[in-house]
C-alpha cells in the first residue's frame, strides 16, 4: 500500500541551473515590512511560463 504521498514541488537543486534571474519581487515589500520570509514569493519566470 502507498504510505507516502509526495507533493509536486519545485526542485531547488534544479533551480541552481535555471534560477537567479532576480526579476522576482523584493520579499519585504509586499505586505509584512517587519519580517523576512522568502518562501511565499513567486518566481517571476515560473509565472510567465505558466501563462
Amino acid at each position: 500500500m502507498k504510505r507516502i504521498q509526495t507533493l509536486k514541488t519545485r526542485d531547488l537543486k534544479e533551480s541552481v541551473k535555471n534560477g537567479g534571474c532576480g526579476e522576482c519581487q523584493t520579499s519585504c515589500q509586499s505586505a509584512c515590512k517587519t519580517s523576512c520570509g522568502v518562501a511565499n514569493q513567486q518566481c517571476e519566470k515560473c509565472m510567465h511560463e505558466s501563462k
Binding site: 519545485r10 531547488l12 515589500q29 519580517s35 523576512c36
Partner: protein, 466 residues
C-alpha cells in the same frame, strides 16, 4: 536534512535541500524518522513490534515501504545533501543591482500609533515631506542602478504617504513617462492607514498600484487601543468603511489588509477572522517588534498561546475554504511548484543591496527599519551608496551567514531572517532574533500543512491516514 512533524492530523516530512514535501501515514513517519540512524532490519523489527496488532504492517509491507523511501532518496527528494553551502557567498555576489526602493514620502503621520517603529512617522528625526525633485532623483537613481532588471518596485511609505499624495501622483506620472525609454516596468505599492483614502486615491491606486497595503489591526477594541488619532480617538470607525469601499472597487488587483498583534491580543486569530468577516480576503498579521520593556511587547511565555493561534488559524482556513468563503493569509502563502529559486532563498530580502529605503531628504538606508539610525546611513541618491563596507556586510548576510542557522530546517524559507529584527534583538545584523524564528517556523509548518491538506483534498484523500 528532513524536518518531520505532526500537525492537524497530518504526518509531514519536509526535505530541506530539495524543497520536497511528503505526507506520510504513521508507519512511514516512523520509518523515515529512523531511516538515517537505524538499519533496515532494525526499522522493520521496531515497527513490527509497535504495530503488532495491525494487519497492514507486515514484513512484506515494510519491505515495500523501505523501497519507496530508498526510491525517494535516489530521486533527490528525501535526505538530500546540502550542495549550496559552499556556493552561498558566490550566490550573493552575482546579482546586486538595485531593484526596489521604499520611498519615505512623508515622515509625518495623521495617526499616533503606540507601537509604530517609525515613531509617529518621524523616525526619531524631524517631520518632513519628500519633495517631487527628491523623489524624481530617487527614481532616476533606481533606474541607473538597476542594470538589466526590468521590473522595479517602489513602495510609497511613511509615516503616512497620503499626506504627500500630490508628490506620489507626480512621481508615478514621471516613472510612467520614462518606462518605455529606459525599458523598465515600475510596480508601485502604497502602504496607508486609510485616514485620507477617498475616491481620488482609490481611482489612482486602482489604476497605478500593483499592491496596496491597508493597515488594520482587527477588532475595533484591538485596533483602537493602539491605533489612535493625534487627538487620542480610535481610528477604526473612520477607516473600515473606506477600506471596504476601496476593496470593493479593487477587483482582482493585489492588496493586503495588514495588522500588528501585541500582548493585548494574543488571540490574534480572532482579529484575522474579524477582517475576513468584514469582507477582506487578502490578510496579513505581524507580531509587534519592539523593546521588551514596552507594556504591549510579546514575551517568551506567550509562545505556546501564539503557536496555538497559528494552528487554529490554519484549521479555520481549511474550514472556510470548504464552506466556499476562503481567505489568504500572507504567511501561509506557499507556491511549492512555482516558488522562489535557491538564489532567492539564500539571499533573502535584499535589504542594503537590491532594496534600499530613501528618506525625505534623499538619504539611503538598508531598509525602512534602519531609517534614522546614523550607523546605518549608506549614502544618498545624489552620490550613491558611499558606505561600501556596510553594503558588503549586507551583501554577505544570507541564509548561511549565521552559525545558529546551520542546523535549522527553515533557513531556506526565511534566508536567515530579517536583518533589522536581528540587529534590534542582538545588536548585529548577523545575529538571530530567536523569538521571530520560533514564530516563523510555526507559520511555515502551518503553511506546508495547508498545502498538504489542499493537495489531498483535491485527490479525494482528505480523510486518508496521511
Amino acid at each position: 536534512m528532513v524536518h518531520l512533524y505532526k500537525l492537524n492530523g497530518y504526518n509531514l516530512a519536509l526535505d530541506v535541500f530539495s524543497g520536497s514535501v511528503h505526507a506520510l501515514d504513521e508507519v512511514a513517519y516512523d520509518a523515515v524518522s529512523m531511516y538515517e540512524t537505524h538499519t533496515s532490519a532494525e526499522i522493520k523489527k521496531a515497527l513490527l513490534q509497535k504495530y503488532h496488532d495491525r494487519d497492514d504492517v507486515t514484513e512484506a509491507e515494510l519491505d515495500e515501504l523501505l523501497v519507496e523511501i530508498e526510491g525517494l532518496v535516489a530521486d533527490g527528494k528525501l535526505f538530500t545533501e546540502d550542495i549550496y553551502e559552499n556556493r552561498a557567498f558566490d550566490f550573493k555576489n552575482r546579482h546586486t543591482e538595485l531593484k526596489a526602493l521604499c520611498l519615505h514620502v512623508a515622515h509625518t503621520c495623521n495617526l499616533n500609533c503606540s507601537y509604530c517603529f517609525a515613531a509617529q512617522g518621524k523616525y526619531h528625526g524631524e517631520r518632513a515631506l519628500m519633495s517631487f525633485e527628491t523623489g524624481k532623483r530617487a527614481l532616476d537613481f533606481l533606474v541607473e542602478n538597476s542594470g538589466s532588471r526590468k521590473n522595479l518596485e517602489v513602495d510609497f511609505f511613511g509615516g503616512e504617504p497620503l499626506m504627500n499624495f500630490d508628490v506620489v501622483k507626480r512621481l508615478v506620472a514621471y516613472a510612467r513617462s520614462i518606462e518605455q525609454e529606459k525599458n523598465k516596468h515600475f510596480r508601485f505599492t502604497l502602504t496607508t492607514n486609510g485616514v485620507l483614502l477617498d475616491d481620488e486615491v482609490t481611482e489612482f491606486a486602482n489604476r497605478e498600484c500593483h499592491n496596496v497595503v491597508l493597515s488594520l489591526d482587527g477588532r475595533k477594541e484591538v485596533h483602537d487601543r493602539l491605533r489612535k488619532t493625534v487627538n487620542g480617538a480610535g481610528s477604526y470607525d473612520v477607516i473600515v468603511p473606506k477600506f471596504q469601499e476601496f476593496v470593493k472597487k479593487r477587483g482582482d488587483r493585489g492588496y493586503y489588509v495588514r495588522g500588528t498583534f501585541t500582548k493585548h491580543n494574543l488571540d490574534f486569530t480572532n482579529d484575522i477572522l474579524h477582517m475576513a468577516d468584514l469582507g477582506f480576503t487578502e490578510l496579513s498579521m505581524e507580531p509587534v517588534v519592539c523593546a521588551p520593556d514596552e507594556e504591549y511587547a510579546l514575551s517568551e511565555s506567550d509562545l505556546p498561546v501564539l503557536f496555538e493561534q497559528y494552528e487554529r488559524l490554519a484549521e479555520e482556513m481549511i474550514e472556510r475554504k470548504k464552506e466556499g468563503r476562503p481567505f489568504t493569509f500572507y504567511h501561509y502563502m506557499l507556491d511549492l511548484d512555482g516558488g522562489p529559486c535557491i538564489y532567492k532563498r539564500i539571499s533573502g530580502c535584499g535589504s542594503g543591496t537590491e532594496y534600499l529605503a530613501v528618506t525625505p531628504w534623499g538619504e539611503l538606508y538598508p531598509c525602512h527599519q534602519f531609517v534614522g539610525d546614523p550607523k546605518y546611513s549608506m549614502g544618498n541618491i545624489y552620490d550613491g551608496v558611499t558606505n561600501l563596507a556596510l553594503q558588503q556586510e549586507f551583501k554577505l548576510c544570507n541564509a548561511y551567514a549565521r552559525p545558529a542557522c546551520r542546523d535549522c530546517w527553515a533557513k531556506l524559507y526565511c534566508s536567515g531572517g530579517c536583518a533589522a529584527n536581528a540587529y534590534h534583538a542582538t545588536g548585529s545584523i548577523k545575529g538571530v532574533y530567536e523569538y521571530g524564528c520560533a514564530l516563523f517556523k510555526k507559520r511555515i509548518e502551518c503553511a506546508v500543512m495547508l498545502k498538504v491538506a489542499d493537495a489531498l483534498a483535491q485527490e479525494g484523500n482528505a480523510d486518508a491516514a496521511f
